[in-house]
């Protein structure tokens, strides 16, 4: 995981976009916590600069 994070940093992406968690299928609460944490992290970092930019364009208001 550290190695892969270093590869991302070399490329110029934030390494914290990637994370690995260990948990069992019985840990639903923990899963929800992780999902929330990663969602917040993704929001804070913003869209990946590698994604198609059009996908993130705000719809323009139609005049008239």
């Amino acid at each position: 995981m550290n190695y892969t994070k270093r590869l991302l940093a070399e490329v110029g992406l934030e390494p914290e976009r990637l994370e690995m968690f260990f948990l069992s299928s019985a840990e639903g609460v923990r899963f929800a916590e992780i999902a929330t944490e990663m969602t917040e992290r993704a929001r804070r970092l913003g869209p990946s600069p590698l994604k198609n930019e059009k996908r993130f364009e705000q719809p323009t208001e139609v005049e008239g």
Binding site: L7, E10, V11, G12, L13, P49, L50
Partner: protein, 224 residues
Amino acid sequence: MIVAEQKPLNEIKALIADADKVLILGCGTCVTVCFAGGEKEVAILASQLRMATRLDGQEKEIRELTVQRQCEFEYNELAADYVSDADIVVSLACGIGVQTMNEQYPDKLTVPGLNTGGLSQPTEQGVWEERCQACGDCVLALTGGLCPVARCAKSLLNGPCGGSQRGICEVYADRETPCVWDQIYKRLEKLGKLDMLMEIQPAKNWHSSRDGGQRKIVREDLRL
């Protein structure tokens, strides 16, 4: 085996800066075993370059291929279509592979993606230590099977020198590298052959090594 390490990503990016289509060409032999230039490393580098060049706003077409042995023409023939389609080839082979590609495909530049690091033994997971310097006149029979040419910082043939302290070589900053002449002494002692060290070895003829220029082995019995 021949061991190598990948060059820094920025150096490789600079090498391919003027190209639009890039072929990353791995080698399935030594550099695969030392995790530097096999199929997996080719895929990782290609992926990194795709992302990095896209982030730079200069997205390139990166293709991947790994041949069994890049130091031999017949294996590289399989790469012909890939090579002709590329503007530049980044070789993840040792320096021999890079030169073989440049000789075989003279109209296309093949640049090195690795730094070749020697003839080494994997001494533990993730560690490769140089064991042979390919000097062309093997002295291992005189030294209990440990090579002073490659493993003594001074390549002494009549060691140890005064810098051997408690079995450690004085040269390396880590203060952990063993003095190979200390090891040779202990090995010959164990074999009951310490008398071998009483014989003073004459100055080595380095002509068979690099001092004689580029070396060439010709086996007439094998030639066609």
